[in-house]
Symmetry: C2
Subunit: 412 residues, 2 copies
């Protein structure tokens, strides 16, 4: 692992100073190669799928693992989109003269070496490699054991594309061993690895963070709330609530708890409940909710703290804005919260006071992702506040240094 780290550190010198054209040439070559190698990729993936079936992987995992011609095309298209994004490296901002006469500014620079630890989806290999390269970083990728053959086949395409563009192959290293030990080593080598991004479930994130001596961009749960305020327009309230829960059940920006102003409970709960049930959502509510809707199961303390990732929703009536805020403060995972209200002052207070990576007024929590935010792609969604928060794209993989243009200034 130290050898891998050393090679990555060395390659990072080349990726840091690579021109935009050179990086884009490598990315476009990668997209071409992925398409040209469709047969080899499908073959490698078939081996993983067979091994997965044999070892009894469940249907959902097998679905994530599978490559199809359409998925390979989408992977190539994703890489091409990253080539099309503006290059963050070298951008200079806030260049201004100081009283001493020096001109001070800030230049965006790569972090150096990025470690990515992920699970079964093989497309993450191409995606993560492309984001790291475009942001001028070298990367070390450690995918799931179940996707080993697929990842190695993608790695071969990446190596070829890097060479074709005159970049060192060590700029992207896809580990061909997947032991837990690899993870432990990656997060304890700060001299070689500048940041580690775990992409996967809570268990993976916890395992990676445990004992890490390298900064980790963490994505913990998405326990997201929508709050239907006293001044919520009725139709908008119902539409946003139903969309935030039902547009997709398994994503981290899906609403898990709905808060409804008590003053509007009798009016809003029935159409919300109807909309949810029409999409097969099981409802669990507080006592006040169950007085309005007797069909509902009672919500337990545990429900408020649960990321269902499933067609289950907890609903709670709140007396006022403060009560809504207090509930969010206690149970939110800091991912995404939304309010529906027509009242401007309330909207602005919610934006200011809710301490989550995305805070929304009159929009569905489902918008909280890198693609919708125009980052082009995301390496993850950070629920940390340090360094990067919310969807992390190219900018989150960079840092800024101060630059000074002088004309011989010395300090008196």
């Amino acid at each position: 692992m130290a050898g891998i780290g050393r090679r990555a550190r060395e390659a990072s010198l080349a990726t840091a100073k690579a021109s935009t054209q050179q990086k884009n040439a490598a990315l476009n070559a990668l997209a071409d190669t992925l398409l040209a190698r469709e047969g080899a990729l499908l073959e490698a993936n078939a081996q993983d799928m067979a091994a997965g079936r044999e070892s009894g992987l469940d249907a959902a995992l097998l679905d994530r693992l599978e490559l199809t011609p359409a998925r390979i095309a989408a992977m190539a298209e994703g890489v091409r989109q990253i080539a099309g994004l503006p290059d963050p490296v070298g951008a200079i901002r806030d260049l201004a003269r100081r009283p001493s006469g020096i001109q001070l500014g800030r230049m965006r620079v790569p972090l150096g070496v990025v470690g990515i630890i992920y699970e079964s989806r093989p497309n993450v290999t191409a995606d993560a490699a492309a984001l790291c390269l475009k942001s001028g970083n070298a990367s070390v990728l450690r995918g799931g054991r179940e996707a080993l053959q697929s990842n190695q086949a993608i790695a071969a395409c990446i190596g070829e594309a890097l060479s074709a563009a005159g970049l060192p192959e060590a700029a992207v290293q896809v580990l061909d061993f997947t032991e837990r030990e690899a993870v432990r080593l990656m997060v304890t080598l700060p001299e070689y690895i500048d940041v580690v991004v775990p992409r996967g479930g809570k268990g993976l994130v916890a395992a990676v963070s445990e004992g890490a001596r390298v900064p980790v961009i963490k994505h913990l749960d998405g326990i997201c709330h929508v709050y239907l305020h006293d001044a919520a327009p009725a139709q908008m309230a119902v539409d946003i609530a139903v969309n935030a829960k039902t547009q997709r059940f398994g994503t981290c920006n899906t609403m898990e708890t709905l808060l409804i102003a008590r003053s509007r409970l009798e009016e809003l709960l029935p159409p919300v409940a109807q909309g949810m049930r029409a999409k097969g959502v099981e409802l669990r509510g507080c006592a006040a909710c169950r007085e309005v809707d007797a069909q509902m199961q009672p919500a337990s303390e545990e429900d408020w703290a649960t990321e269902y990732l499933a067609p289950v929703l907890s609903i709670r009536a709140v007396d006022d804005f403060e009560a809504a805020l207090a509930h969010i403060r206690q149970y939110s995972s800091g991912h995404t919260e939304a309010i529906v209200t027509a009242d401007h002052a309330t909207a602005m207070r919610f934006l200011r006071e809710v301490d989550s990576s995305s805070v929304m007024v009159n929009a569905s929590t489902r918008f909280a992702d890198g693609f919708e935010y125009g980052l082009g792609a995301e390496i993850g969604i950070s629920t940390d506040k340090f360094h990067a928060r919310g969807p992390v794209g190219l900018e989150g993989l960079t840092s800024e240094k101060y630059i000074v243009f002088g004309e011989g200034q010395i300090r008196e």
Copy 2:
């Protein structure tokens, strides 16, 4: 410590939503109180000084520890300057409409609770408390044992100022125990403390980072280089080199190694050596340097890797730009590097390729500090690349969240 953490976390809700006026009122009240309590501060400090003398603190440490009426006035003035800085909290940038119709922007928010661990200078207590409060954070301050009485006297002023402005006293907690155990506890309570900033020598930073489960904004050594390039204007080269070394010896942005283009060695080394020796600097050089200047002691491998913080300078001749870059890459601590050159392309390559928190063209490394950079004050200078890099002022104590203004948008 957990109780202190809990109170800090709770107070951070109040500081996060405090208005600019309220925060500034507290800071101006603090400045007034420090001046009004001059007698009490001097008395407390006299106790620390007496204890320090008794326990055999050296003269430099006693000097740092001492409060005088002038130093108290400077401390009050520093706090007032922080009150005068723009409030970073709540600033919104890049508000723009996305194809979905939502308006997306980023709002600057406090980190939450900041822990500061520092050594003997009592003025850090007021300074750090003021920076944390202005940036909307609660803070937990742990000063040096030798400054305990002084720090407690300053803490009393802070508490009074917070109360006068209607802010919770727990917004700034100055620990009245200074055991190493306090440090260990602070860095292992991520649920209560969001970031820890050690202000002090390498030993302190290493002790704080060891086993930290909370992010640490680290400031390690300042092994800073000035590179006199082949195209350096002669007088500018000499002036900047002498200033970067001799304007102050003990600061982290002081030059410790001078690199001189071999093509200019015979021309530039004699006036540089004369300027340095006139200020009492001992010179240690490579073989080529010693051929030009026989008085010079030889520089060892260890010299290139040493932060002298003293009137000692190592000097090395470099064959070309690549050799200069390679030396910097190997020995620099990533703090501040400067080049002196009249050649534009070389200047721009140096700016891009040197991976330090400040990179300068034709200016003295001594400019690399928060005051010269217009941050008003600094909580430290980060040699990390993650989160904050270079002088860390109010912005480094904040994060940004995404905000979304919708008009009922749902995801299709």
